[in-house]
Amino acid sequence: MRSLDRKLIRDLGQLKGQVLTICLVVASGVAVFIAMQTAYRSILLTKDAYYASHRFADIFAYARRVPDSIEPQIRDIPGVAQVQTRLLSRVRIPLTGSDHAATGQIVSLPDHGRPALNDVFIRVGRLPEPGRNDECLLLESFAQSHHLAPGDALSVVLNGRIRELRVVGLALSPEYVFAFGGDVMSYEPGSFAVFWMRKAAIEAGFQLQGAFNNVVLRLQGGASKDEVIDHLDTILEPFGGFGAFGRDKQPSHHFVTSELDGLRMQTIIIPFIFLSVAAFLVNVVLARLVQLQRSQIAALKALGYSDSSVGLHYLKLVTLIIGIGSVLGVALGTWLGGLLMGIYKDYFLFPSFEHRLDPEVLLIAVLISLVSAVAGAAFSLRGIIRLPPAAAMQPEAPASYKTSSLDWLTSWMGVLARMVFRELRRRPGRLLLSTMGLSMAVAILVIGRFAIDSIDYLMDVQFERAMREDVSVGFREPLPARVVDSLRAMPGVHQAEGLRTVPVKLTKGAAARELVINGMPVDGSLRVLLNQQGEKVRIPMGGLLLTDLLAEKMGVVAGDLVELQPQQGERRKRQVLVAGTVSDMLGMQGYMQLDALRELMGEDPMVSTVLLSVDPGALPELRRRLYDMPAVALVQEPAAARRLFDEQQGGAMLAMTLVLVFFACVIAVGIVYNNARVALSMRSRDLASMRVIGFTRGEISMVLLGELTIQVLLAMPIGMYLGTLAGDALLSSDPENFRMPAVVSNLTYVFAGLVTAAAGLFSALLVRRKLDRLDLIGVLKTRE
């Protein structure tokens, strides 16, 4: 080994504390990057391959009853490549031994062969035989949570009648990558099933012979999605079409892609934070090292080493530190990636989940960490290269300090405080960067906890205050308002209120937008419209109340007339007055008084949803009866959903908090420890002299650690502010679906402050040990 390389290894050994802390920061950044990128890429690839191999449809449409004879018209729509008509039906699964019934979806298979689109992947077993009306394929995740296997029998309530089904295979489909019964909040694999049965087996029970109620299409390359949707809507309208939609609104696909988008965002942000902190630490440590080794650098140059080879020597040192961190990060990232994929495996149902470590990801991770190393080293490297060998032969001049007009501020504090203060003033850049770095640690903690706070707030406002009903019953299509009375008459029901929702297209000049208008009873008490602050909002009489963001985007103000076209039923265009705007949490909505909406629609009183307040004792029976009503599409219980959510989130939140605490500590310790070590090395002579004069250990510690304490204290409010800001930005990343104010509880601030302070204290103690062992005589003897 070359002597210079030997020096490198020994220098590394000397700096091991600093090397270790920097390595951890780099490793964290690299690990997060690799884990998330791997998950992101694996899911994306798996999903795309699955969609292609199982022919996932591009367009989806539901209708009441469409005769099979209409199918050729759909095939003839320009731009359509493939068509699959189907029967879909909701079922209830009365599980023995469970109070909470599971629900499911029956999807028809063509009477012979496999579906042309949204094909099933059969894990075990086989397709139902044509003509065998009791055979079904069952969604694998449901079967697993209930320990069902091919050969088992299962009762379902279909259209009010109990049917005995025999499971002949376990299956998946691209339509149900994320399989949930309409309510993401209450996702649980055991509560939602999908059954695939031959069409003939379903038809009979529904009087749907020779007809279909669902159609899915695949587009030709280059075809216009919107034109095909319009065309399809026109064809299906006479048969009770509910409005066709593209993949973007298909629930499973929507959920998977928004999860992927989130993952991609985080893949960029989190590693960026870590690697900038790493660059900063490299900068601090290398700057000090170069200062310490000034005369060595000069000697090397005097001995005939060129500027660039001496520069390269120090670059190698940094590269090695970052390299070790990267290797550690790759190992950690692979492991973390496995964990992350494990979580996704529980949620996303794919035939096979390839968790493959892409060499490209590794390469990018290592490259960006090297870039951060070079960025951090650049300043010092320039100094090394420019250091004139002759000038460095002389001992370094004492650092220059200035008195300042602000000295009166510290005059009463005594000389120790003044030393701290002057040190800070001498290196404002260091103070700024350290404070920024530490505030990142605080911010990470705030961001992490903030998600918990915000979800809590949202849950509180939505579930406790806006949705006061015990049960909400959603219908497949609007029903005459009489249904409210008949539900009110059911046993155990205290109160019943009907809501009407109408999907519409709103037009104002050139601006057009699709949204849902909620018709709410004036005197209703079970559902309340709340703004972002959780305050109750009254819906004005006779007009439309719009989400303010939507109004702004469309350039609409109160008093404007807008054009409105229902996307269901009779699609005549109408004019409506915009009576005001509201800043609600749910994105793009419109609200009207129920009567006003009915008048606008020009229809008899209709409702889409009925809200019930129910005697708890009567709930199980009521639930069963509601599930069995053919007109009912969805039965939701806000309280149960909230409970389930809290249960499921508890563990995940704890895990997330722990990971964030770890990351924040890595950053905080990295910064405080390295700053303290550098400060100690720079001032050990001063401090030893002070000890010789008679200052105590405590007093000299104060001079050294005072500066760090000030950095930590300054970083807290800044970090809290930054964290809140970032949280706000995260929340408003998708304002069209969801908006709410940044909610950060005091607990979160206290938590972030305490964790950072603890990390700082821990680092300070490490350095304090070195301070206590300061070799008074040795330090004074040496020149540097």
């Binding site: 070359r2 002597s3 210079l4 030997r6 020096k7 020994r10 220098d11 000397q14 005369s295 060595q296 000069a298 000697a299 090397l300 140059k301 005097a302 001995l303 005939g304 080493y305 060129s306 500027d307 004139p388 060998p389 002759a390 032969m393 002389q394 001992p395 020149r783």
Partner: protein, 234 residues
């Protein structure tokens, strides 16, 4: 005598903010092959500045400096590096050893980049440290450290050995040992040597004594009689 290094009318000005500091104000000096020249003068008189320019660590503000037929005053940084690497051995007042490398490795640092070097062990043997090869600088006394520095300087078989107050940080006894080593190298290897000292008696071991005052050469005298290093007292 064959001129190895010659300086003509060298001026060196350091700009310190508003004021110009004249370290050298027109110095001409030549080193003959195999000569041992002592540079003496008060602190601040320009000795180190002159030595650094002769060693290619620095370039003059005006005037010319030539090593054999190379013009150093107009040389690029890369050319100066090559000059230092191939022809010059430096010994500094504060040794400037690399603390993380052993005696042997400090010498190897130079032999690895030199063309026809001695073995590091031989160089250390030459300065009487053949038994301390694997000691780190911190485990050596000041005089021993300086001898390692000399071994490091001569291991490449330089044409010129430049020593800036090599005994400045040493006590008398160890100082003499170091001077003896320099003397041996000058005599036995025939290395042209320039030695800065502010101790007048040390100059008695040199062929020539050049005295600098305020950036100018005040006198340049040959010693009729050389005092061996071991007999020098100060």
């Amino acid at each position: 005598m064959d001129k190895v290094l010659s300086a003509r009318d060298i001026t060196k000005v350091y700009r310190m903010g508003e004021v110009d500091v004249y370290a050298l104000r027109g110095v001409s000096l030549a080193l003959g092959a195999g000569e041992l020249v002592a540079l003496v003068g008060a602190s601040g008189s320009g000795k180190s500045t002159l030595l650094n320019i002769m060693g290619g660590l620095d370039i003059p503000s005006a005037g010319s400096i030539r090593y054999r037929d190379h013009d150093l005053s107009s040389a690029s940084e890369a050319e100066l590096t090559r000059y230092r690497r191939e022809h010059v051995g430096f010994v500094f007042q504060f040794y400037n050893l690399i603390p993380s490398l052993t005696a042997r490795e400090n010498v190897a640092l130079v032999t690895e980049i030199a063309e026809d070097p001695m073995r590091p062990e031989d160089a250390l043997e030459l300065v009487g440290l053949g038994t301390r090869l694997d000691h780190f600088p911190a485990q050596l006394s000041g005089g021993e450290q300086q001898r390692v520095a000399i071994a490091r300087a001569v291991a490449k078989r330089p044409d010129i050995l430049l020593c800036d107050e090599p005994t400045g940080a040493l006590d008398f006894h160890t100082g003499v040992k170091v001077l003896e080593v320099i003397e041996t190298i000058n005599r036995e290897l025939g290395t042209t040597t320039a030695l800065i000292t502010h101790n007048a008696p040390i100059a008695k071991m040199a062929n020539r004594v050049v005295t600098l005052v305020d950036g100018l050469i005040a006198s340049d005298e040959s010693n009729a009689e050389l005092t061996p290093a071991k007999d020098i007292r100060w």
